[in-house]
């Protein structure tokens, strides 16, 4: 997995690529919690267009980020999910829990 950050006006966009699994999900979790808890970013956006695979540890990182964002009154937004990632979130019955958009433009909109 590769993860890089872009900082926009009161938003952080993480561009993530590759596989999010047991080996890489701790890095994603750490990055999410840093932006939400330490940087107090009001909106954190995950660009998942280039994520090929996600396992339950990746889903758990997203859920933890979502819970922290709700506790802090922030937003965790996902976009660009391919069929594989949608399947995993659907299997977890979490697809409707997250704020999900198709494009970055939609994810950045007020």
């Amino acid at each position: 997995m590769k993860i890089s950050a872009r900082y926009l006006d009161k938003m952080t966009v993480f561009d993530i690529s590759g596989d999010v699994d047991l080996a890489s999900s701790p890095e994603l979790r750490k990055a999410l919690l840093r932006e939400l808890r330490e940087q107090r970013m009001p909106r954190v956006i995950l660009n998942l267009k280039a994520v090929r695979y996600m396992d339950s540890s990746g889903v758990a990182s997203l859920v933890e980020g979502l819970k922290v964002s709700r506790d802090l009154g922030a937003r965790l937004v996902l976009y660009g999910l391919n069929g594989t990632i949608r399947e995993v979130l659907q299997l977890s019955k979490l697809l409707k829990i997250f704020e999900i958009y198709d494009t970055e433009e939609q994810a950045l909109a007020p």
Binding site: D19, L22, A23, D55, V63, V88, L91, S92, L94
Partner: protein
Amino acid sequence: MGQRGLLLKLELQSNPEMLCVVRHALGQLAETLGFTSAECREIVLAVDEALTNIIRHAYRGQEGRPIRATFRRIEVPCDGKQRKALEIVLEDRGMRVDGEKLCGRSLDEVRPGGLGLHFIKESMDTVEFRRKFAKNQLRLTKLLKAPKTKKCTEER
């Protein structure tokens, strides 16, 4: 166990970095056997989650411990017929896994963790766990659906 129906045997170590290697090999194997793309993804997800559980729970995150993964083509009785299936057996020498904990959790509660077993059960046709000779053994099977037969119409 004998070599009957043996397709692939992997001896790996409990290192998270090895998971992607197994995923790629297994995806290719499942595709070669004739599983659909969706079924291939299910098989890969189930095995990945099972290996993750071994690393996290049986070995408590300790790296370098042995895991054996065996993949066989088998036939199983189903609705009075013999059906082809893929059998996957994962063995480790880690801590005994509490059978009651293998029930998974309710998905009604939104919280991180506890999803792996749910993924395995949803993805595979059978999931059996046993402890034998100080080894945990997880046996998974996935039925290979019969190819759709085309009806031929004769032109006269």
